[in-house]
C-alpha cells in the first residue's frame, strides 16, 4: 500500500454544539478510490464539509491530513490549493457571477498556488471546451450565471467539470450521482474514471450501488451515526444493497 493521500484520524465535529462526527478514522492511499455509504443524516456530508473547511463545522478533536500535511487549520481556499476538491451534494447558485469568469478565477488561483503563469484566454477556452465536451455539457450552460437555473443533473455535471479543470489530488464527491439520469451517470462516471491516476485519490459518497458498477472502488466504508462502522471491498456495497443498513446498526459500539 502506498502512502496515504488522505488520512482522517479520530475526527470529531460539532455543528451548532451538536456532535455529528464521533471519531471518524479513514485512510485513502494515493491512487485509490474509496466509497462511503450510509443512511440519510448519518453525517456523510458533514464529513465532506469538515474536510473542505466550511465555517460552522467545529472540529473538536482529531485531524485531517492531506498528502502528509494537516489541513484543519487552513482556510478553504488553502485546502483547495493543497489539492483538495469537494463536489457538493447541493452546489450553490450564485447569480451575477458568470460561470466562465468563475472557472477562469478558480483555474488561475490554482495555477498561481502552483507557481504557474495565468492561462491565456485561448488556452482557457480550449481547456473548458475540451472538458465540457467530454461531459456532454452544452455551451449555453456555460454562458449562464454559476449554477443558476441549472437542473439537478446539470449542476452535478458542472461540479465534475470543475473537478476535471482543477486537477485536484484528492476528490471528495458527495452524491454526485444523485440527480443524474442513466445516460448522464455513464458519461459522468467515464469522466471520473478518466481522472483516475496514481497521484490522485477519490472519496465517493453515494446511496446507490449502481454508481459503483461504473466507478469501481478499491474500498467501501459504511457510515453510521457519525462513524465508519464497517469497511470492505466492493462486494460490501452489494451486500448493503441486499440487506440494508440495519445489519450494521450499533456495530461501532
Amino acid at each position: 500500500m502506498s502512502a496515504p493521500m488522505l488520512e482522517i484520524k479520530d475526527l470529531r465535529v460539532s455543528v451548532e454544539d451538536k456532535e455529528i462526527l464521533k471519531g471518524v478514522n479513514l485512510i485513502v492511499p494515493a491512487g485509490e478510490v474509496h466509497a462511503i455509504m450510509g443512511r440519510n443524516g448519518s453525517g456523510k456530508s458533514t464529513l465532506s464539509y469538515a474536510i473542505a473547511g466550511r465555517a460552522g463545522y467545529e472540529i473538536t478533536g482529531g485531524d485531517v491530513v492531506l498528502d502528509g500535511q494537516s489541513i484543519i487549520d487552513m482556510e478553504p481556499d488553502e485546502r483547495a490549493a493543497a489539492g483538495l476538491f469537494l463536489a457538493f451534494q447541493y452546489p450553490i447558485e450564485i447569480p451575477g457571477v458568470a460561470t466562465m469568469t468563475f472557472l477562469k478565477s478558480a483555474m488561475n488561483a490554482q495555477r498561481k498556488s502552483r507557481g504557474e503563469e495565468e492561462l491565456t484566454i485561448p488556452d482557457f477556452m480550449k481547456a473548458v471546451r475540451g472538458a465540457a465536451d467530454k461531459l456532454s455539457i452544452n455551451k449555453d450552460m456555460l454562458k449562464r450565471a454559476l449554477n443558476v437555473g441549472f437542473s439537478g443533473g446539470e449542476k452535478k455535471r458542472a461540479e465534475v467539470l470543475q473537478m476535471a479543470l482543477l486537477e485536484p489530488k484528492m476528490c471528495v464527491m458527495d452524491e454526485t450521482d444523485s440527480g443524474l439520469d442513466i445516460d448522464a451517470l455513464k458519461v459522468v462516471s467515464e469522466g471520473v474514471n478518466q481522472m483516475r491516476a496514481p497521484g490522485r485519490s477519490m472519496l465517493v459518497i453515494t446511496h446507490y450501488q449502481r454508481l459503483l458498477d461504473h466507478i469501481v472502488p478499491d474500498r467501501v466504508h459504511v457510515f453510521s451515526d457519525g462513524q465508519i462502522v464497517e469497511s470492505g471491498d466492493k462486494d460490501l456495497a452489494l451486500m448493503l444493497e441486499s440487506k440494508g443498513y440495519a445489519a450494521f446498526d450499533g456495530a461501532a459500539a
Binding site: E75, A80, I92, V97, S113, Q162
Partner: protein, 409 residues
C-alpha cells in the same frame, strides 16, 4: 429651541454671511428662520445637515479661471464623449459642439423653487446656468464634467437639459475634485418632451473630504422614457435628491443607484416621485454596499395622485453590509390616492452570503477575491444595462477601485 443667530452653528454663520446680499433671498430667509435642516425635519431625519456640516468654505470665484483650466479633463475622462467642463460651478465658453445639441446660458438656477434648503442654496448661489437643448438622436455621449479643483471652496452650479419631442440622448454627469473640504451644490433639471428618451448617469468620484449636495429634477412627458443610474463612491457627506414628475401618459422612469460607502462616509439618496397622470410606470432599484464604519441612506417617496390610475410603481432597496460598523438606513414611503394602481416596495439588507463565499473559496479562490466577486455580482444588475462598452468599462472601473480599496480616502 427656536433658531436664532445666537445659537447658529459655525457652518450656519458662514452660510448666513455668504448669502447676505444675494439677489435670491429665499435661502437666507429660510436659514435665518430655521437654520440648516436637522433630524427634526422629516426629509432630513437621517441626514442632519445641522449636525453633519461643520464648516462652509469660502465661496468659489470665477476670476482665476483660465480657458485652459476649463479645457482640462476631470478625473473621469470619457474619451469619445462631448465634454462640458465645469470648474467650481462655472462653465467655460461652450459653443455648439455637435449636431443635435444647442447650448445657451440662462441667468440663475434652473431648479424649481421648493421648500428645501439645498434647492434654495442652489437658487441663491448660481448666477448662470447652462441650457442644453437636444433634438434628434446624437450618437455622442454628452459628458458634464463637474470639477472642484484647488483649495476648499463652496461652489454651486446648474444645468438644464431639454430633450425635444422624440429626441434620444445619453448624458453623464461626473463630480471629481481635489482632496479638500469642498462644499459643492449641483443641480440638474431634465425635461423630456413627448416620446423622448434619456439615459442619465451621475457619478460621484469626489474626494472623501468633500460635501456634495445634489438635486436632480426630472419632468417626464407623454410616452417619454427616462433611465437613470447613480454611482456614488466619493464624498465624505453627500445628499443626492431626485425629484420626479410623471407629467404625460405613457411616461416611464427607471431609477437605479449604487451607493458604495466606506469608512467615515455618509451618503444619502433621497427620491421624491410624483405620478400626476394615468398610465405611467416607475421602477426604482437602489443598492448599497457599506464597508467599515459608514452610513448609506435611502429614502424614497412615491406619490400617486388621485387621477393617476393604472400607475405601476415599484421600489426595491438592497443593502450589503461588509463590516460590523456599517449602517444602511432606508425609508420607503408610498402615498397612494388612486385606487387602480400597482405599487410595491421591498427592502433586503444583509451580509455576504456565507455559503456562496465558501463555495468560491472551496475552488481555491482567496477570500478577498471571492468577496469582490460576490459584491460585483450584487452590483452587476445595475451596470449590465449600460451597453456602451467604454462607458460600462469605466463605470465598472469605479467599482473595481472601490473593491480594491483604492478609492481616495
Amino acid at each position: 429651541m427656536k433658531f436664532s443667530a445666537n445659537n447658529a452653528t459655525s457652518a450656519e454663520k458662514q452660510l448666513l454671511e455668504q448669502l447676505d446680499g444675494m439677489k435670491d433671498s429665499t435661502a437666507l430667509k429660510i436659514l435665518q428662520r430655521f437654520g440648516l435642516p436637522s433630524r427634526r425635519v422629516e426629509a432630513y431625519h437621517y441626514t442632519d445637515l445641522k449636525a453633519l456640516m461643520s464648516h462652509v468654505p469660502p465661496l468659489a470665484k470665477s476670476d482665476d479661471l483660465t480657458d485652459s483650466d476649463l479645457g482640462a479633463a476631470g478625473e473621469f475622462d470619457l474619451k469619445d464623449a462631448i465634454k462640458i467642463p465645469v470648474r467650481n460651478g462655472f462653465f467655460g465658453k461652450v459653443s455648439n459642439l455637435a449636431e443635435g445639441f444647442e447650448i445657451s446660458e440662462n441667468s440663475g438656477s434652473a431648479l424649481t423653487e421648493r421648500k428645501d434648503m439645498i434647492v434654495a442654496l442652489n437658487r441663491a448661489l448660481v448666477n448662470n446656468s447652462l441650457n442644453i437643448k437636444i433634438s434628434g438622436a446624437p450618437s455622442e455621449i454628452l459628458h458634464i464634467d463637474w470639477q472642484i479643483p484647488g483649495s476648499a471652496a463652496h461652489s454651486a452650479g446648474c444645468v438644464e437639459i431639454e430633450l425635444e419631442k422624440g429626441a434620444k440622448a445619453v448624458i453623464i454627469e461626473t463630480i471629481s475634485g481635489s482632496d479638500e473640504a469642498h462644499l459643492g451644490n449641483f443641480g440638474s433639471r431634465i425635461i423630456l418632451g413627448e416620446g423622448a428618451e434619456i439615459t442619465h448617469i451621475l457619478v460621484d468620484v469626489s474626494s472623501r473630504k468633500t460635501t456634495r449636495l445634489q438635486t436632480i429634477e426630472y419632468e417626464i412627458g407623454q410616452n417619454a422614457k427616462m433611465h437613470n443610474l447613480l454611482i456614488n463612491s466619493g464624498a465624505k457627506l453627500s445628499r443626492t435628491q431626485i425629484f420626479t414628475n410623471f407629467n404625460g401618459e405613457g411616461a416611464f422612469g427607471d431609477f437605479n443607484g449604487l451607493n458604495l460607502v466606506d469608512e467615515g462616509q455618509h451618503c444619502d439618496i433621497t427620491l421624491d416621485t410624483i405620478h400626476k397622470v394615468p398610465n405611467t410606470i416607475s421602477t426604482q432599484k437602489f443598492k448599497a454596499v457599506v464597508r467599515n464604519r459608514a452610513k448609506a441612506i435611502f429614502q424614497g417617496r412615491i406619490l400617486v395622485e388621485s387621477i393617476a390610475q393604472k400607475t405601476d410603481a415599484k421600489m426595491m432597496i438592497q443593502g450589503l453590509m461588509l463590516s460590523e460598523g456599517a449602517q444602511i438606513l432606508s425609508k420607503p414611503e408610498l402615498e397612494i390616492f388612486a385606487d387602480d394602481v400597482q405599487c410595491g416596495h421591498g427592502s433586503t439588507c444583509g451580509e455576504l452570503d456565507e455559503d456562496s463565499l465558501f463555495y468560491l473559496m472551496s475552488r481555491g479562490i482567496r477570500r478577498d477575491k471571492a468577496t469582490s466577486m460576490l459584491i460585483r455580482a450584487f452590483a452587476e444588475e445595475l451596470l449590465e444595462p449600460i451597453k456602451d462598452e467604454q462607458l460600462n468599462g469605466q463605470l465598472s472601473g469605479i467599482l473595481d477601485e472601490w473593491l480594491e480599496g483604492k478609492a481616495k480616502v
